[in-house]
Amino acid sequence: MNEFLTHYAFLIVPIIKIAILVLLVLTVDAYLTWLERKVIAHIQSRWGPYRVGPHGLLQPLADGVKFIFKEDPMPAGVDKIAYFLAPFLTLMLALTSLAVIPFGPQRFTIWGYETHLGIADVNISLLVLFAITALAVYGVALAGWASNNKYSLLGGLRSSAQMISYELTLTLSVVGVLLLAGDFSLRSIVEQQAQSGKGLVSWNIFPQIIGFLCFFTAAIAETNRVPFDLPEAESELVAGFHTEYASMKFAMFFIAEYTSMITVSCLCTILFFGGWLSPFPVSWTFTQFLPSVLLIPFGLWVLYDGIRYETIFGRLLLPGVGTALLALGGALLAYPAINGYIQGPFWFFAKVFVFLFVYIWMRGTLPRFRYDQLMSFGWKFLLPVSIANVVLTAAAILIWGKH
């Protein structure tokens, strides 16, 4: 048994990792929808989902069930193959793009197979990411074209034009970072930011602030999120490219969208905000206790909130969760050695969460672009700025060298 494992570890371990990641991501997506609805609701001073489970925590499950069991009508005169292909393609690409993202520094060995946090460690991972996002256009475009519906077609056209236009910026705005790192591998980009060991100050965000702004804007456009969600502008195109999609296929588009949000957030984190690095200098070892120290008050709050919750279920569930969190925090304090391991993932996911929140926040606040505005903004403002950023960075490196 054991030697079987050691012999085929190179095959088994990645499969396991992939399974874990996919499950994780799907869950995160589900609760991302919940979070989005909650946050936007509060922004608009509403309650948001509240019925299913305490604080509507089980809403995602309900949605999932609905998606699965809902009828899936196919409109007349659609191009069947493309119609089916589109959502699968979209989801597949979205999930694939996560494969090259490293979540933490550690390398560990399972059954004699050395591996790390994250699926694949390609040395041109950034390029691979861009390649995959580049292909993501087809899903939307095909969906729009295949559903044999004017609005959808318009949506598809819009998305293809928009994605091509903003992909330029997306790629160019990263060049600055690449110049600093001198490598395409996301891992080495993070390590380059860690070199000085001074924490926050050595992150790319400071030299590359312009690049970051361009990148984030372009990334939002690439993911068809507000304020760039013209392909699915409900006020103009009903629901754009996925008007004719229902139930599971629609869910695929949905999941794909949220997954790509996660991907983009991860990218922003890695490229500009030092990935899994802690913002504090390495010398401040005591900051390693931060996660556990954060857990305890959170657990306390959940406990307190749970006790005075109105539904029985809530009163049963929430305190349990709270005590679990407290226990976890206590354990971490008890066995400080663990902290060293969870540092990386902790900071990484914390930063990613911030970006996801920003996404939702923007959706809550910003209005949608008009199409011509979108184009002129992308071509006449964003692109020149990112090019200028490249030139400036190159000049700076030429003059002062890399830091």
Partner: protein, 166 residues
């Protein structure tokens, strides 16, 4: 039969399948999609050979820009199934055999001459992106500039063509 060989045959089969389906499909969209398949397969082959940067560029530019443009135009013109007219007798009767003859020629020539070539170097060892860019900006800088000029001209030409005369 080693792993690379297996991968090669899979990808090659994929590429050939794509090319054939490009020919057989009657709707341009599907031709385009099958061409994309070919390109992805080729990108995989490049990776197999260790030309990673070229592979990435192949996907990004060909798959992500050029073919998107094709699909876009096909959608824009709402191109239907192609009609199989046969106005050119020459092409109808002589076209396919001659085309096959040419490919036969080339294949035979390669089969003859290619034997003298050494086997590819171990993957990735050869061309890091750095060496490639060094080459591009030192030895090939003049053609590089020329191509940039070509791009500019192409942009202008496309604009001039696309704008409605008024």
């Amino acid at each position: 039969m080693t792993a690379p060989l297996i991968i090669f045959f899979v990808l090659a089969a994929l590429a050939i399948f794509g090319a054939v389906s490009l020919i057989l499909q009657r709707h341009p969209i599907y031709s385009a999609l099958s061409l994309i398949v070919v390109m992805v397969a080729l990108a995989g082959l490049y990776l197999l050979m260790g030309a990673e940067f070229v592979a990435a560029v192949q996907i990004i530019v060909y798959g992500g820009a050029i073919m998107v443009l094709f699909v876009f135009v096909i959608m824009l013109l709402n191109a239907g199934l192609e009609e199989r007219t046969n106005f050119s007798g020459l092409a109808t009767y002589a076209g396919i055999p001659l085309a096959l003859a040419v490919s036969g020629f080339i294949a035979a020539a390669i089969a003859r001459s290619g034997g003298y070539l050494p086997a590819p170097a171990p993957s990735g060892a050869l061309t890091s992106t750095k060496t490639l860019s060094m080459l591009l900006f030192t030895e090939f800088v003049y053609p590089f500039e020329l191509t940039s000029f070509l791009i500019l001209v192409a942009i202008l030409g496309a604009i001039v063509l696309a704008q409605r005369e008024n």
